[in-house]
Structures are given as C-alpha cells and as structure tokens.
Symmetry: C2
Subunit: 339 residues, 2 copies
C-alpha cells in the first residue's frame, strides 16, 4: 500500500484495517523460511489439494499420515550422527569402570578423541559404541542421561546446543502439515529412546509418533517398583527396507507424505509414493532434503558415508520426488540464524 | 419435575425449557450402561480429577494415556479367542493345498471340527494354527481376508457377528476418556494386524494406537509395487511382561489408566498404577473386568484357560485396582441388547 496515493480524506480506521490485513497476509505464509519457487509451490499445492473437502484429491483426515526421517532431514548429521557424540561422551564417563577399553577398539579411539579411528571402526564399531552406552540401564535413567547431555553438550564445529541445529523450514513444514490435520511421525535409523527425549518439545511430535531403531528391553518389578530395562542388543534396525516395516508395525497404514535425505530413506519413499495398483489414485508426495549449502550447513551427497544420497537421487525425477536444494530453497537454516 | 405441583399459570415456554434440560441432563450421563454405584462413581471421579485444570490431581493432556486389553476386556473371548475362529476358517479354506494336514495335529482337529482336540494342542498348537493362517501373505491381502471374514462369520453360540460382541459399557468408557482428552490405546496379546482391521470403526481407535502380538514382516518391491509380506514367525508376544514392553516401544510413556481382565494384564496394571518413587504422585487407575454374568455373557476366572484371572484378582484390593462385576455393574452387555 502506497500511502502517497491515498486521498487526504481517507479515513484512518480503514487505513488501520488495510495495514493490519497486510500484516495478517504476511503472517499467514505457512512456510516463511522457504524461498518462493517451484518446491514451495508444489508443497502448498499438495497440502491444499488433499485437505480441501471439495477437491478431487481430498484425503480423509485419518489417512493424512506424514513420515519424516530425522538425521539430515530434521536436524544436522555432520560430522557424525549426534547420537554418536552422546554415546562417545558416555563411553568417556564410563571408562573408569572399563580399563579394558584403553586397549580395545573402537573404545580406544573414543578415549583418545580420535574421530578418524572411530569412523574407521565402521558400522560394527559404531553400533558397539552406541550399545555400550545405552545398555543395562532403566528406560527412565537413560532418558534422564540424554536430557542432561542435551542441556549441556554443544556441537564440535558450530558450538550450538544440538537441539538448536534443527531446520527452521522443516519445523514450519511440520506445523503446516499438522495445521491441515496431518499426523506427523518420525521414522529414523536413530535410537527410538534417544529421540523421544526431545521430539515433543523440539518438533511437536509426541513419543508415540516416533519410530526408530530399537534395542531389546524387558519388564521387571524391582523392589516393588515397575522398571523397563534396556538390555543392549538391537531388536530392530529402522533403516532402508526396515523403514516401511517400522511404519507398518507402528502406524499400520501407508503414509501419503514422506521426507528423507539419504538412500536410507529410499524404501520409505517407495512405500509412501508408489501406487499399489491402477485404482490407487490417492495423491502422494515424497521429498528429499539435499545438502547443498557448505556455507550455512554442509554440502554432501553421493560421496558421503553419513547421509549417503546416490540411488534415491537418481530415481527422484522418475518417481516425481521433490529434491530440496537447501542453498536455494531455504532462506534460513537454523532457528537462531538471522534471515 | 412433578407436573402436578406446578401452578396452572406456569408458562409453557418455561415448562419446555425445564423438560429439555431434564432430557439434556439424562443424556449427559457419560456412562449410561453402567449402573450407579461405587465402580461408576470411582471412574467418573478419576476422570474429572485428572482433567479439571484447577484440580490438585490435574494431568496435562499429553500424559493422559489409557491402555485397554482387547479379548475379554473390550469384546468377548469365549468359547475361544475370536481370532482363533478366523484362523480355523482359513485352515479349512486352505486344506486342499495341504493334504498333509489331514493327519497332522492340530490341523487334523481343525478339519474335523474337533474343538476339544484343537484346545488340547495347547498354546503351541494354537500358535501353529494362527501362524499357518497368517503367513506368506501381503499385509493388504491379509487385511482384506479378515475384513471379509468379519462381514460374514457369526459366533458359534450367540449367532452374532463378532464385531457386535463388544461391550457397550466399555465403548462408553472409551468415548468418555477421549472426550476428556485421553488418548486410548489397545494393548492385546491378539495379533496386531488382525485387530487393526476393525478397531477404528468399532472402538474409534486408529491403527497407530493398536499394540498387539507381532509377526515377522519384510518389505519388497514386487513387479514395481511396494509390498509388506507377513512371514509367519512371531517377532513379539504382547502378553504378560510383554505388555509393558509393548507399551514402552509403541507409546514411550507410562499410561495413567489401564483396563484388563486376566493375569495376562497383570504386568500392564503394575506398570500403569504403581508409582516409581515417593515423588511420583500422578493419579493412576487400574481396572479389571470380571466375567460374572453367565446369563448375558460368560462367568469364569480362576479355573478358565482363556481369560485366566487368579493372581491379578488376589492383588486387586492391595493395589487399589477396581474390579468390575459385569453382572452387577453393567445394565447392558452388547450394543444390540435391550436394556
């Protein structure tokens, strides 16, 4: 509104209304940290189509299920998964009771702050670290431990608390979907108990909507008190072909929206978006967050061990999956960034 | 309101208002199929206490988690679990492809309609029947099969469709809890995939809030179509000490309300109601449905193999669990019963 073009007699009350609606309109952009363009337009078009009652693409509310990977999709995952940093800190705290770790990999590398050595221990080594830090502990004690760590630990390169390294545009997307009666779930290779400590507060996703890799647990009455004990063996790996299985077990119906960032999300994207037969005309959307922003976050895909994105990227075009260009599509990365 | 005591000049409009409010009051009894008495009063008192904002026992909405056993708690389970009747019907349909079943127990007894022989095969036999009927089938085909069966099969003694053998008072309790912002879950030893076919329509409980015994499953792309295949091995038994573990895995927080009917629910009741320590003052309620009504349903407890209720009954008083006397507390059993 250009004030100079208004007649001098223009009533102040109308001016206020006009100004206020201007503000309102600006505030009702559901995805303010997304730059205008094809990606943002496609997301909004999809959400409006499935949630508008007289739309041919209308989807009943109970079927509006959206699943999100966590590491690299909702928060950062470099230079290593944040849960690994937690596990390594635990190993250091527990080292006194395990003198044998001084000479046993991967623990030796952890205690020597040798990240190259830790990563060289491979997937098996990483699982050993995580399991050693997460086992023979009650569920409540484990949660308290993670909560305490999140409150004090900071990321090795950004110096930020880990909970602040979530993506502002994805927080907006979660809220936007929920405002349109989607139920939002996390489906991550990360540990289910680790994530549940912060997902409600940080993402607005309650523990019962978090699916992740799961350790064995047992129930016992100890001194008259009911206790869940984490035993330290992996019961379920929620990655790759495990993701659709985890969705099936926990949710019991196919999502119509899924977001991931790596080949670990490939099967979830297939399960979510590929129609079962010609009669299956439900609209479906798959999204891949591509890390293209070395300045504000990290840039990696085909050559990275963490967040390896190769096959899913090749398939994206053919499957109609939207590839988010972090550098171009997002005006802001973390909530603390200035725009 | 006694019409005879009204002055003749009493305005008709006020009379209508008075009569209408009378009707409204009657309609707002949240548990009309529960006879007035201690049980009903205790339930209403608990729900009001945890959901009234200025009550000392107020519980924030996200923590209002209520878990319900299914067989014998939400619907009948005699003379055998209804899922077993489904499985036996499937075995009969599949018998042509399995000539060896004619001479192999427990299949032989199933094919001869010998219920005594079926039950004599014990838990191992029952699991064999269920697994044989539920395996090497896609999740969707299995659901279609259960749906078709529920639409046509009837109970051997009542002649009712199985979905009509749900307890009207428990349907009212589920609705009442949800009206007070509880999230209601099923936690049953029954098969998770079997239950999910009907829980949303019959109980208003969506599939993601159903926890049950779980078979192995895998994800595959078959001819370009994403498929979940049920493999036929049991991955998790959601009974006894398995119930708190199932709750922990699926929900990730302790319920404040649990309802069961057998010793299979004992650990869920302990996990739900016993405080963790002196600081844990959250109000908690445990309920046991006791089958005391041989006329309208069945009467069984300590001597029954199905719905065996012995240890939990002995502990109920000491733990403050409410034991529902089906004959005395419920004015109606099934929705189709006349009151």
């Amino acid at each position: 509104m250009n004030l100079k073009t208004l007649p001098k007699s223009f009533p102040l009350s109308l001016l206020i209304i006009a100004a206020t609606s201007g503000i309102c309109q600006a505030q009702t952009d559901p995805l303010p940290s997304w730059n205008d363009g094809e990606t943002k337009a496609a997301i909004i078009e999809f959400v409006e189509a499935v949630s508008t009652e007289d739309s041919p693409d209308f989807v009943p509310i109970p079927e509006r299920v959206a699943t999100f990977d966590n590491d690299g999709t909702l928060w950062s995952e470099q230079p290593a998964y944040f849960q690994l940093f937690y596990a390594m800190d635990q190993i250091r705290d527990m080292a006194d009771q395990h003198p044998e770790w001084q000479n046993t990999e991967p623990f030796k590398s952890v205690l020597n702050n040798d990240m190259t050595g830790v990563m060289a221990s491979g997937e098996e080594g990483l699982i050993k670290i995580v399991m050693a830090s997460h086992s023979n502990i009650s569920a409540e004690d484990f949660q308290d431990s993670v909560r305490g760590w999140l409150e004090s630990a900071t990321h090795p390169t950004t110096g930020l608390p880990y909970e602040q390294m979530v993506y502002q545009p994805m927080l907006e997307l979660l809220s936007y979907l929920r405002a349109n009666d989607f139920k939002t779930f996390i489906v991550s290779g990360g540990g289910i108990d680790f994530m549940r400590v912060f997902t409600e507060q940080v993402y607005g996703i309650p523990p019962e909507q978090v699916i992740g890799s799961t350790g064995d647990a047992k129930f016992e009455m100890i001194d008259g008190v009911p206790v869940i004990l984490k035993e330290g063996e992996i019961a379920f790996v929620d990655d790759k072909a495990g993701k659709p299985v985890g969705i099936y077990r926990h949710i019991g119906r196919r999502p119509i929206f899924a977001a991931g960032n790596s080949d670990g999300d490939l099967q979830m994207l297939q399960y979510t978006t590929i129609p079962r037969d010609a009669e299956d005309t439900t609209p479906r959307m798959g999204i891949i967050v591509r890390h293209t922003d070395a300045d504000r976050e990290w840039a990696y895909d085909r050559d990275s061990k963490i967040g390896h994105l190769d096959q899913a990227l090749d398939m994206a075009d053919g499957q109609g999956w939207i590839v988010i260009d972090m550098a171009g599509d997002w005006s802001q990365i973390y909530p603390s960034d200035s725009e």
